[in-house]
Structure formats: structure tokens, C-alpha cells
């Protein structure tokens, strides 16, 4: 699946998107954040404020307990400031 990062999360991760292949044990958005954070210091830092990080699966907002099975695109971003 594709992972996308926006705003300061994108800056901290150092890229705007990448292909990821989490193991089957990673079943929710929260699991995926833990799995990404375990990669290295960069990801750990990017995702350290977990309670402010929002996620969307295939272009729809989801909560951290949402299942990621079947997702094509998962986006992570800080709270939105549009309008």
C-alpha cells in the first residue's frame, strides 16, 4: 500500500509518499503508526505526538482504530487548517 505524509509530518519523515508493506499482524492505523515508528529515529520523531496525528484511508478520514486491510492509500497528517 501507499503511505502519504503531509505538512510537518511530511517534513519530519523526509518524503511525501512511499510504498509500504506492513506484516499481517499490523491490522489498524494505530498498529501501523507503531510499526512505522519502530523503523528508525526519523519515523519515531515524526510520529511521537500520536494523539494529534490524523489519518485517512483511500481519501476518507478514519480513526486510529480503523482496520487497514485492503487499503490502497493511507495518509498521515497533522490537524487540518484549511478554510
Amino acid at each position: 500500500m501507499k503511505a502519504l505524509y503531509f505538512a510537518w509530518l511530511r517534513e519530519r519523515v523526509g518524503k511525501s509518499e512511499e510504498e509500504i508493506q506492513p506484516p499481517a499482524s499490523v491490522s489498524t492505523v494505530a498498529d501501523l503508526i507503531v510499526w512505522l515508528s519502530a523503523r528508525d529515529e526519523t519515523y519515531a520523531h515524526a510520529f511521537e505526538k500520536r494523539n494529534v496525528i490524523r489519518a485517512a484511508i483511500d481519501h476518507a478520514h478514519v480513526r486510529h482504530d480503523a482496520k487497514i486491510f485492503g487499503a490502497k492509500e493511507i495518509a498521515f497528517f497533522p490537524p487540518m487548517t484549511g478554510g
Binding site: L4, A7, A56, A60, A75, M80, T81, G82, G83
Partner: protein, 160 residues
């Protein structure tokens, strides 16, 4: 209204928009509209300290998400026409960022829908603002206001 809700007209674009032409177009040639409430959000210079806002957006999601919120507004109020434009990219101080224009038979519905849409765009539409300061340096990412989340939340408390 019995004929079903109108299709909202939504645009996510880099270019500036003509707020005047956009709102005029909504009412042109029809005489069933009694109320047109519109809102334009602009880039403030924050007392001269801010030169521009860079607006990052999630292109594949932005239009879809705005359409979802617009559909919700159309389900809540008997609107006759609805236009939403949201820009991204670099917007200089004094420039236009967003337009919401809601037309209805009566003013209450038009005002309520425009207010609802702005509250939801702030809280739900995937856009992120970053300041470019007047001294040439890159400023911070704009922090969401707690008040914005509360503003969006009051619409779920009401009417449910």
C-alpha cells in the same frame, strides 16, 4: 426543492477566483432564490508580519471531502444552489483563500449552511497552512484553533 437537492459546485484550484462572478453566477436567470449568503476567507498580514501563506493540500482527497461536507449541508437545509472554491499554493497577504456561497429561499437556511460549511472546511478539509514571514523567513505551520474544533462540533450537537 421537491425536485431534489441541487448538485454542489466545488472547485479546488491554485488560481485566484472572482468572488463577485462566482456568486452572481449562482443566481443568474432564476427567481426562486430569496437569500444568498456568502463568505470569503482572506489571508491576513498579521499586523504586517506575514507576507503570504503556503497552503499544502491532499489533492486526491480535498475535492471528495468538500463534496461530502457539501452533500451533508444539502441534506440539512433546503438549499437552491451551492458553490465552494478552495485555493492551494502560495497566497499573498490580502489574497482570497476560500469562498462559500449558499443560496436558498430564506435567509436562515442560507446563513446556517454557509456557517456550517466554513466550520467543517476548517476542521475536515485536508489543507495545511504555513506562514511566509515579512522578513523573508519561513514561519511555522499554522496551529489549529481549539475554537475551530468546537465550532465544527456544535453542528453535531445541534440537529441530532
Amino acid at each position: 426543492m421537491a425536485g431534489g437537492a441541487p448538485k454542489p459546485s466545488i472547485c479546488v484550484q491554485r488560481e485566484d477566483f472572482d468572488a463577485a462572478a462566482e456568486t452572481e453566477a449562482l443566481c443568474r436567470g432564476r427567481a426562486d432564490i430569496g437569500a444568498l449568503a456568502s463568505f470569503v476567507g482572506l489571508c491576513r498580514d498579521e499586523g504586517g508580519t506575514l507576507a503570504a501563506l503556503e497552503i499544502e493540500h491532499y489533492g486526491a482527497m480535498a475535492e471528495k471531502e468538500i463534496e461530502r461536507v457539501a452533500t451533508e449541508a444539502l441534506a440539512r437545509w433546503p438549499l437552491l444552489a451551492l458553490r465552494i472554491v478552495h485555493r492551494y499554493g502560495l497566497i499573498e497577504a490580502g489574497g482570497r483563500i476560500v469562498l462559500v456561497a449558499a443560496a436558498a429561499a430564506h435567509r436562515g437556511e442560507a446563513f446556517a449552511a454557509a456557517g456550517f460549511l466554513m466550520d467543517y472546511l476548517k476542521a475536515q478539509a485536508p489543507f495545511w497552512k504555513r506562514a511566509h514571514l515579512a522578513d523573508g523567513s519561513l514561519g511555522a505551520w499554522v496551529e489549529p484553533k481549539l475554537a475551530d474544533d468546537e465550532a465544527a462540533a456544535r453542528w453535531s450537537a445541534a440537529n441530532t
